[in-house]
């Protein structure tokens, strides 16, 4: 039986391929895409006014609400700006670190740095967020550090949240950048130097263009992770973000919450299309 089966599979490569892919593909289509589809479909349903149960009647009211009420636009704008600022900060912080790791450090120091960058990912996200909450508190570590300079910490504000996000997603920017910078052949640096370019010119004309796909790849992580997060905003500020709004209305108005998810999805689709044009997917 076993021999006949293996013989059959050997002669029919397409069946073999199908059998191999059935489980992962089934998972992807049914569980992953299926649930996403059901979620998006819910955006077109209504809720019962009294019991807040879902009524399966088609409507575009949820989208109308999103357009007509300013608050949803403001919250979306706030979230996107925060994601952009976090991405920018992470890029600025990560570049020198990644460059040092990839081009300057000795192999021993490099592996130590890789471990140091990856290490925070081993700790739970919640622990880190709560730790920052404690550090940002009035009289907390940041206040204590800045006190002698006559300053005080940012407290539970947007700046505080920006710091937390920048910290949380930094490794996701460093790692792709590190890989991207390491891939640049040594010879192009030498060629640049031979042709008389100073270090700044080498950086702006050689390193940056060659590392751009990696930078964009890293920014996909930092941008999308900030866009979707709802726990850190709730812990650090009282400002609403797309995630916190969805979280707070999901019980009462699931269809409206589902409609709102179209906003980050649309933003990410545009972002990914741009990233694809910049070649980010080749360096993932």
């Amino acid at each position: 039986m076993g021999r006949r089966l293996s013989g059959f599979l050997f002669r029919h490569p397409r069946v073999r391929l199908g059998a191999l892919l059935a489980a992962p593909l089934g998972w992807l289509v049914v569980v992953y895409l299926g649930s996403l589809f059901v979620l998006l479909l819910a955006a077109f349903w209504q809720t019962d006014e009294f019991t807040s149960e879902i009524v399966h009647t088609f409507t575009l009211d949820n989208f109308r609400t999103l357009f007509e009420r300013d608050v949803y636009r403001e919250v979306a704008w706030r979230t996107i700006s925060m994601a952009a600022l976090v991405t920018l900060a992470d890029a600025v912080l990560a570049f020198p670190i990644a460059f040092y790791m990839a081009r300057v450090a000795s192999p021993r120091v490099r592996s130590l740095l890789v471990v140091a960058v990856v290490m925070p990912l081993w700790a739970s996200y919640l622990v880190k967020a709560y730790a920052w909450r404690t550090m940002l508190a009035t009289g907390g570590v940041l206040d204590w550090l800045l006190g002698p300079l006559g300053l005080s910490g940012p407290g539970y504000s947007m700046v505080g949240l920006w710091l937390v996000f920048t910290y949380l997603w930094l490794p996701f920017m460093i790692l792709p950048l590190y890989v991207g910078l390491e891939r640049i052949p040594e010879s192009v640096f030498e060629a640049s130097a031979d042709l008389g370019a100073r270090s700044f010119r080498t950086f702006s004309r050689i390193v940056l263009p060659l590392a751009l796909p990696a930078l964009v790849a890293g920014s996909i992580f930092t941008f999308s992770l900030t866009l979707g997060d709802y726990i850190a905003p709730g812990l650090i500020t009282s400002e609403q973000f797309i995630g916190t709004v969805i979280y707070s209305i999901r019980g009462q108005a699931l269809p409206l919450a589902a409609a709102y998810t179209f906003v980050p999805i649309a933003v990410m689709v545009v972002y990914l299309l741009l990233a694809r044009r910049l070649g980010a997917f080749e360096s993932l």
Binding site: F50, V71, T138, S238
Partner: protein, 403 residues
């Protein structure tokens, strides 16, 4: 050209996928419609006598509860497990909406629901009526709390009362004058505490603004803070929008967050449950806070343990409902959370013998200006008719207040 073709999915295959998904979604939807409605049916698997329930509970071995934080603490849940063989597993709900969400997943056997959840739960058929003959301790529950609109339907009780308590004004005595006795410190006179207010993050908090307006702006004629017509509702929302820039933190049912903020002085005044006050005052070193029911009155809760209509462990849940209103459990619950017991037999068993007096367990006049959470509906409940704001309006307004 060839490269380009391979990259994208064949359009026909994509269309097929979409159709398949649509079918799957439609059949899911169909299933949902079949449920609910027949709430009067007996829960499957429930014993018909107390002895039978006890026997079956031993086989079930567990009960899964959705609770307000602290409602099924080990200090009395462990005793229950030892007595009945039912292990107690809990999941904290952050708000009434959250609790409805959790119980409708079907993973839980019961819920400690407040009035703004109970009515909806009964209406949705998520919870089942209870046979109080199988809950011997029910006879000792205060009559004034039985058969209320929020825990019964058509004269049929849906669950057992848990306890009741007020939402309190809490403040740090080293910042706010200790003699403070009015909500105005979080509304009209909040400016000195700008950025240090701690406010409950749920649309039901609009009622707290209404309670204040009821006392301070009599021309609005607010009779019930949950039955607000256009004018009254807008006044409450305006008040909340004036307050919003002064709020340091909205706490979304996250008890630990509020306790930390008051400990660090990031919050100095706000609304709270007695539970957090207990935690703050018993911390080491104790945080100098005081909590009062201000002179304007307040909102509050009268909570009910309800059983999920398709509970997997109904026998354990029945025993839990009986246990939680026994005098010994009520004494622990009331002291731990800081609320009034519903079984006055508990008053002799509390550690602090004056607990029942402090929390006015038997003093109905004290509760007159405590407005228990309930679901805002279109029907104002009086001769104004169907012009009041629904909870949907409340929720939408809350999102905008939060900005």
């Amino acid at each position: 050209m060839l490269e380009k073709h391979r990259r994208w999915m064949n359009p026909a295959a994509f269309a097929l996928l979409l159709v398949a998904l649509a079918f799957a979604a439609a059949s899911c939807g169909g299933d949902d419609d079949g449920d609910g409605g027949d709430e009067a049916t007996q829960i499957e698997g429930l014993g018909s006598t107390l002895d039978e329930i006890k026997e079956k509970a031993r086989q079930e071995g567990r009960v899964n509860l959705v609770v307000w934080a602290g409602y099924a603490d080990k200090s009395w849940a462990d005793q229950f497990a030892a007595d009945t063989g039912c292990q107690v597993n809990t999941k904290d709900g952050a708000s009434s909406d959250d609790m409805i969400d959790l119980i409708s997943t079907g993973e839980y056997d019961g819920v400690s629901a407040s009035g703004n959840a109970t009515v909806r739960l009964m209406e949705r058929g998520d919870v089942a009526p209870v046979d109080t003959d199988l809950i011997p301790n029910y006879a000792d529950v205060q009559e004034g709390i039985k058969n209320q609109s929020y825990n019964s339907k058509d004269g049929q009780p849906y669950g057992v009362p848990h306890g009741r308590g007020p939402n309190l004004l809490v403040f740090r005595t080293d910042v706010v004058p200790p003699a403070t006795n009015s909500w105005d410190v979080i509304w009209d006179k909040a400016d000195p505490y700008k950025g240090k207010l701690s406010i409950y993050d749920d649309s039901i908090f609009i009622a707290d603004a209404a309670v204040y307006l009821k006392a301070t702006q009599p021309d609005l004629n607010i009779t019930n803070p949950y039955e607000l017509d256009d004018k009254q509702f807008n006044a409450a929302v305006d008040l909340l929008e004036q307050q919003a820039p002064k709020v340091g933190e909205y706490w979304p049912g996250d008890v630990a967050k509020q306790v930390q903020s008051f400990t660090n002085k990031d919050s100095v005044v706000g609304t709270t449950w007695p539970y957090q006050v207990n935690l703050l005052q018993s911390a080491k070193p104790p945080v100098p806070v005081k909590a009062v029911k201000p002179k304007e009155g307040t909102t509050g809760w009268s909570d009910t343990w309800m059983i999920y209509s398709k509970a997997k462990h109904p026998n354990c849940m029945y025993l839990w409902m009986d246990y939680i209103i026994s005098p010994s459990a009520q004494a622990k619950v009331a002291e731990f959370f800081g609320e009034a017991p519903v079984n006055l037999g508990a008053c002799d068993l509390t550690k602090d013998k004056s607990h029942c007096d402090n929390f006015h367990a038997a003093d109905e006049s004290w509760w007159k200006d405590v407005y228990y959470w309930t679901t805002p509906t279109k029907d104002c409940g009086d001769d104004r008719g169907e012009v009041c704001k629904t909870q949907e309006d409340w929720k939408a307004a809350w999102t905008e207040i939060r900005g």
